[in-house]
Amino acid sequence: MSGNAAIVGGGLTEWGEREATWKDLAQEAGKATFDDVDGIDRSDVEGLFVGAVQPERFAFQSHVAPLVAELLGIDAEMISRTELACASGQAALRYAWLAIAAGQIDVALVIGVEKMNLGKEYMPEMQSTMTNVLDREFDGVNGLNGPSHFAQFAQRHMHEHGTTREQLAMVSAKNKTHAAATDFAQYRDAVDVDDVLESYPIAPPLNLLDCSGITDGAAGVLLVSEEKAREVTDTPAYITGSGQSCLSSNSINNLPSMTTWPQAREASEKAYDQAGIEDPLAEIDVAEVHDCFSISEVIEYEQLGFAAEGEGGAFIEEGRSELDGDVAVNPRGGLLGCGHPLGATGVCQALEIHRQFTGDVPAERAVAGDPETGLIHNLSGSGSVHSVMTLGRDPQ
């Protein structure tokens, strides 16, 4: 038993405002995943890990892991749903990795599913659901949810570090332009900096185009042991490191800061250490980071070790996160371009790294050179928990 685990393929639904139920989305992504991988059958699957954040409220359905097993015809001996707000998909992947590394199973289906759109007239209900991932009694009650929480990080980062409104817009323009070449993305119109600056200031200083979407979608990957991976593909994406951090903090008072995420730093340092990465900027070729809002990506450059603290704005302005930059960040278009079906996002990020390794991406958004090392990052809720995973072409 090698202990290593690799992604050998996966599949997706179309993301956006879908005329589809939660169960429809799970079936579409499941079928697409198995259709993508030759040599692995549903009968090979021993573990099923489902990332799903709020099916209880968005789709009035709980206990969703056995529902997926039934829909896809899987007899699983290890089965669970993970809920870690916006990082649920990566959490599902992490537990599947741990199960394989521990030698308990060889083949896992990791699938993330979220049905979020209830119709525009029910937007306040949708926003309530997002509000409740914060401490509802003391933060949600004050009007905080996605945009109004992260806007205050932007306000503070601009105040402390001189980050500009234009620099935030550059993040959105970059990612949304990448998404124009992503066939499943929710937003496929290329966007420039002026478009972002002129969009509605929905939670100032953040504008509408600084925000990711409300998205129906699902994504799946097959994660298998090294032995199995060698049987079925020449281009696996091995998980080489995985870290998480939560500093006993969730509500505003207990977050370490409103300009930094030391949890992201801790999680990434743990993953880098496992992967033997000493200089992340030099060694990581492609990064899928959690750009739920434009400001998030700026802070992530700093906390993941790509830029010094306070210099995330300059990092985007100097083009260092472009496809041909020091590290290609969010080539599929990120959450800003693809949308953010909560439980599916982390799974989709990992699939994107695999596709960048195999070259199965359109030329317009292919990472320059042959990327060898990838990273995925997710934050959850108030930014209380950060999760980082590194992937490579070779086992660790």
Binding site: P124, E125, Q127, S128, E137, F138, G143, Y200, M258
Partner: protein
């Protein structure tokens, strides 16, 4: 074949074939009464929450929080167990009623259920020294404010779907 096709296919003179399944309309309520969950404010009395003293103090005009009698840690939100030492020997201590604005935004298009009628409103983070809390900032709009502005406590009485006299804190510019 649709049901209309079937009734017109000539197989039955009265329009209903004997092997049609029985059919009737059943009614479900036009409205359902949900538990009081969606107005965001907790029930604040001793029957419902271990931190009722926090709400009672606020009702009496004072913003307080818990302080651990064993290790001295000051918590916010208030607790019934100290997260630093797990002591349940906690006392309520006063927080300052004036502080400074640490950050802020304005909620415009993304308000939750029960808050949409209030938009636009300012949501901020207020620095009170030992404690930094989120709060709505009344009597101000986004354009009026700057980080570091002094703000002071305001108490709102919640008129809503319970018999309880519920209260909450907000802040206003000094």
């Amino acid at each position: 074949m649709t049901r209309d096709d079937r009734s017109n296919d000539g197989s039955s003179n009265d329009g209903s074939s004997s092997d049609d399944p029985p059919r009737e309309t059943v009614s479900i309520p036009n409205e359902v009464e949900l538990p009081r969950l969606l107005d965001f404010y907790d029930l604040q009395d001793a029957e419902h929450t271990g931190i009722h003293e926090f709400y009672g103090n606020l009702r009496d005009g004072e913003l307080t929080t818990t302080r651990c009698d064993d290790c001295g840690a000051v918590h916010f939100p208030p607790r019934i167990v100290c997260p630093e030492c797990l002591s349940d020997d906690l006392s309520y201590t006063s927080l300052p009623h004036e502080g400074t604005l640490h950050s802020f935004t304005e909620v415009r298009g993304t308000a939750a259920i029960g808050m949409t009628d209030d938009t636009p409103f300012v949501a901020g983070v207020v620095d009170l020294g030992d404690v930094r809390l989120s709060a709505r900032i009344d009597d101000a709009s986004y354009e009026d404010l700057e980080i570091g502005d002094p703000v002071r406590l305001k108490i709102v009485d919640i008129d809503g779907p319970t018999d309880q006299d519920r209260v909450f804190y907000r802040f206003v510019p000094v």
